[in-house]
Chain length 354, copies 2
Amino acid sequence: MTADVNRQWRVARYPKKEEVISPDHFDWTSEAIPEPEDGQFLVRTICLAPVPAQRGYLEKSHNSFLDNIDIGDVMRGRGVGQIVSSRHPDYAVGDIFVGSLGWQDYSIQHPRGAEFVFSTKKVKNPISPLSTELSILGQAGATAYFGLLEVGQMKAGENVLLSAAAGGVGSAAGQIARIKGAGKVVGITGSDKKCKWLVDELGYDEVINYKTENVGERIAELFPDGIDIFFDNVGGDILNEALANLAMHARIVICGFIATDYSPGPHSGPINYQFIVYKRARIEGFVVFDYWDRYEEAEQDLLGWYREGLLKNAEDEDDGLERMPESLGSLFTGGNTGVKICRVSPDPEIFIDD
Amino acid sequence: MTADVNRQWRVARYPKKEEVISPDHFDWTSEAIPEPEDGQFLVRTICLAPVPAQRGYLEKSHNSFLDNIDIGDVMRGRGVGQIVSSRHPDYAVGDIFVGSLGWQDYSIQHPRGAEFVFSTKKVKNPISPLSTELSILGQAGATAYFGLLEVGQMKAGENVLLSAAAGGVGSAAGQIARIKGAGKVVGITGSDKKCKWLVDELGYDEVINYKTENVGERIAELFPDGIDIFFDNVGGDILNEALANLAMHARIVICGFIATDYSPGPHSGPINYQFIVYKRARIEGFVVFDYWDRYEEAEQDLLGWYREGLLKNAEDEDDGLERMPESLGSLFTGGNTGVKICRVSPDPEIFIDD
């Protein structure tokens, strides 16, 4: 449903360190739909995708990737939408557009390069559903792609462990590992239902339920020759157990801390870092924004795999802009299976499959 | 003094986790000097160099680089010596030889490639003192060289922090950083005397005494733009403080845990590993043995710098084979300044400077 006003979530207060994000942290406001000036266009939001890094923007003095968001400002967030009026010659009404739309129904946009979070993209050949632009063809897919293949340098035959395996990035990365010929793909997640989904739907070879199983013992059992690549979204104890089970020249790709408190400051230790030496291993952190100028490489492969049916677009959709605070909060409580998408308005009919 | 018997240190019992290595862990025995067979030669030990990894050989089920040493066997250790009898056409009496001589006066040897610890080398142009073959031209120098330049990929202008800076490897690595045009070279060590030595003798720019100063505050103060390379021999709290002060794309080279308990199992945490992501940093473990086939590259540079007076051969010599257990133990209690050498017999006169 499209509103005749512009509904918005504005930041009301920053969350405390261990608080779950909820509507309490935002004000639900509305204002007139804005008008584009020369060189600008107006975009109606179709879907938004909350990502864990957004929590980092809600901290006063964080060490994250981007500036934080001031109290009173519209919450920042990437989304896909449709242009509904335009004063830019290259952007026509009806065009599908991806960019930093914010948590609102409408936003004024202009073309931008720069880094991933703020960059814009006119989608030349939109595919259905349009949310795909935010999941496997968006930040989750690109993070999985560059993290596994570029930072991790995964080779065919290598054995891969993934934490937060049913999350947005993990669900893409596990499938990509499978497509690229990994020896064994093992995912760690927090429920039997997710475990079953990873095996039945996404092609994981083995799964570990960290809530009911002994993670260290299971890793040792499943990786008798050691882990070649650990794709870590979690850190903490799971990283520690992985370190004790590395293969020679293992690579640990760290792209986030989705399951831990996202704020700076010490997280739980200790870690078995002596194995970094024994196994000549490498731990490397990365941020997908850095790969923006190489995004088309990823898109070409990801879209190809999707069209061939090799890569499933695993999405977990919430309905309505009003759900955004809970959608973001759910990422930290294991509430999503696949990429979390929040539906703000329906896909235009032309893009809806029969 | 050369013995007319072969005195030996044999392993009597493995040390407990937090025990300092001492003569209690060995038996002091002697046997007849052995005779070489065809293809072999007899080497008289001149100097031995205890290294921290040797403690790892004294653990029943370690995850170290090499097999452990059985109770009753002669303790393993690399040294420099002179051939005193030979039944190998390419190895003549009087030749200077480097290899795994063991903690004893005499050993039977044959040419060996393989990995660093066991490899052998006939020294073609010996320089005085011969212990140099075990320090800057040996394992310490090669570890510093490949760790800093190959694993760490240090570039001119980069700011470098080193832990265990006055140790065998650290004292070489700090000098190499200086030679290769590092922006700032800062060493962490455990006494004011060592701090002064690092600055006055080895050319470190700044030093931190971890026993009397707040390491985190001092690192932040000395690296306002962050650490580009942290060359770590220590781990634990110091690694944690370094992580919180990284420059973008920092590299942390881990080549040992000289100042912590060397045994496997969890060491002290927590570590600030979220900065690995924020700063797109890399932590990499390495073992110099892996670089054996490239040793000549290092030797050429190290010898050149030594001859030009740019690289000082910082050695800390103990006198007498009977001192070996304490020499090894001292590496874990901060007892050495530079590369620990244990003198077993004098350099042959021809190699002694006037």
